[in-house]
């Protein structure tokens, strides 16, 4: 149970800290409001138009294809570190894994997911 008690303490700390970070400034901050300070993006460009706009679906396609390579890297790293101990079987396995991902990429390519329309 002590193992989970540590997690519980972390949970409480993680809850209290942001609340404190909001309450303490409320108490000690000097209040001098002006127009510039009250605008939504004090340090950025003012927004133009509505915030609900259509994004190109191509962004998401690129993002998904990127995730494919991300996952591949995640698996390749531990495999590469332990390569000498794992032997031939793991080599074949990794080629199968990379092959499946390659099929996925080939599919996306052929279907035109990589061309910006």
């Amino acid at each position: 149970m002590s193992y989970f008690a540590k997690i519980f303490i972390l949970l409480i700390a993680a809850t209290i800290f942001p609340i404190m970070a909001m309450i303490v400034p409320l108490i000690i901050q000097p209040r001098q409001p002006n127009k510039e300070k009250n605008s939504q993006y004090e340090c950025g460009v003012d927004t133009v138009g509505r915030n609900i706009i259509r994004y190109r679906i191509s962004y998401f396609l690129y993002a998904i294809i990127f995730v494919v390579f991300d996952v591949e890297t995640i698996f390749l790293f531990p495999w590469a570190v332990k390569f000498n101990d794992l032997g031939l079987f793991a080599l074949v396995e990794m080629f199968i894994f990379a092959g499946i991902l390659a099929i996925g990429l080939a599919y996306a390519w052929k279907k035109g997911a990589l061309t910006w329309k």
Binding site: F4, I103, K110
Partner: protein
Amino acid sequence: MNLYVIYPEITVLVLALALIIIDLLLPSEETRRPLGYITILVLSILAISLFWQYHLTISAYFYQGLFYYDNYAIFFKQLFLLAVILTVLFSLQYIDTMKYSSEFYSMILFALTGMMILASANDFLTFFIGLELMTISFYALSGFGLTNKKSSEAAIKYLIIGSLSTAVTLYGISLIYGTAHSFDFAVVCKNPEFFSALGIAGMMMITAGIFFKMSIIPFHMWAPDTYEGAPVPVTGLLAMGSKAAAIAVFMRILFEAFFPAADYFMPVLAVFSAICMIGGNIAAMKQKNIKRMLAYSSIAQAGYMMVGICAASPQGLKGVLFYAFLYVLANTGAFAVVTVVALEKKGTDYEQFTALSQSAPVLAMVMSVSLLSMAGIPPTAGFAGKLYLFMAVVEHGYLWLAFVGFIMSMLSVYYYLKVVRVMYTGKSDGSTITISGAVRAAVLISMTATVVFGVWPQYLSMLTDFAAITFLR
């Protein structure tokens, strides 16, 4: 590492990838029909080869108990294969009308892999992977009617509620891991700490997640909308495959991982089963769309199958296996007819079925036999299935549950026969529906099997006995 144990999964997965590659190599204007034929051929060989895998005593593990390969798993694998083969067979024409037909075949095969993994899952991790592989493929499949708003609605609804149930299941698994310090079903059930408040909460959450997949009544809200909107073959597969896979893994979890608590589970399951039979059948009565009616009827069917689980005996399990099998047969018959009508008449309301007996007498006959089998009328297999289920549960002492089942089966005859009445009365508009050879083969196989297993249930019951007895040792 005996890879031989997972050869069905590997075959299906390789087939799915091969279909993608073939699709990339084929010119885009070429028809994708041959991919369907390849799928049917390979899956049929695989299903038949599994008959040689039944063994009396030997059961094999794969990768340190993650994956269990026993008669029970083999039976369910064959059942899923049969469901997919027949579905592909009757929907070849329907799939041709889709924009991405080869992807459709691949996604069905990925879903099939998920179901087959679920049937063998012997570990909560394997269970979760199988469940997700199946469900994510079904999210995509139910949105395959790209030009159809209802199909998108179905997919989004299924995705949102499905993700929620996945989250609940995962949370339950984490609680069980926290108390029992293992994912393995066989280890989990031996840990006494498992029966703490946390462990029981975990059990409930996993059960709720599986009930969602089985569309048991408080968790059924997604089912009618998703069933209505999804393309017809997908609806059929959701009703047979997804449900049967959830039942397969639920029985495995209940009788292995939760075995010490199984006695406490039974009264709860009995109540859920009664609610399902009553609610599903009553809601099905006032539906105007055949797909929605079949959705509610499938909720009721899940209730009937739960009756067998409540019996917690080899007889009850055998009943569930038998019923699941003939439910697949009856469902393929019904959904094959709905697919053809949806293609020809562009709709699945009762009006579209008017005078089907004049435009396509074979389809009307198959539909009638399938629906009568679901209702449990004697010459069909549904009667034998319900007989096994209710006999088992009465032996176990749940007489009231059997009575609810009887009464609800009688009520269900009303709405099943309503479809039959619509098909055999009314004025025909003179059109005839041409049925392709593949559809004819699928419906005739399902109808013949329904009648044969109804008159001679012993052939199928031998197989189910075998699967059930080795499972509940």
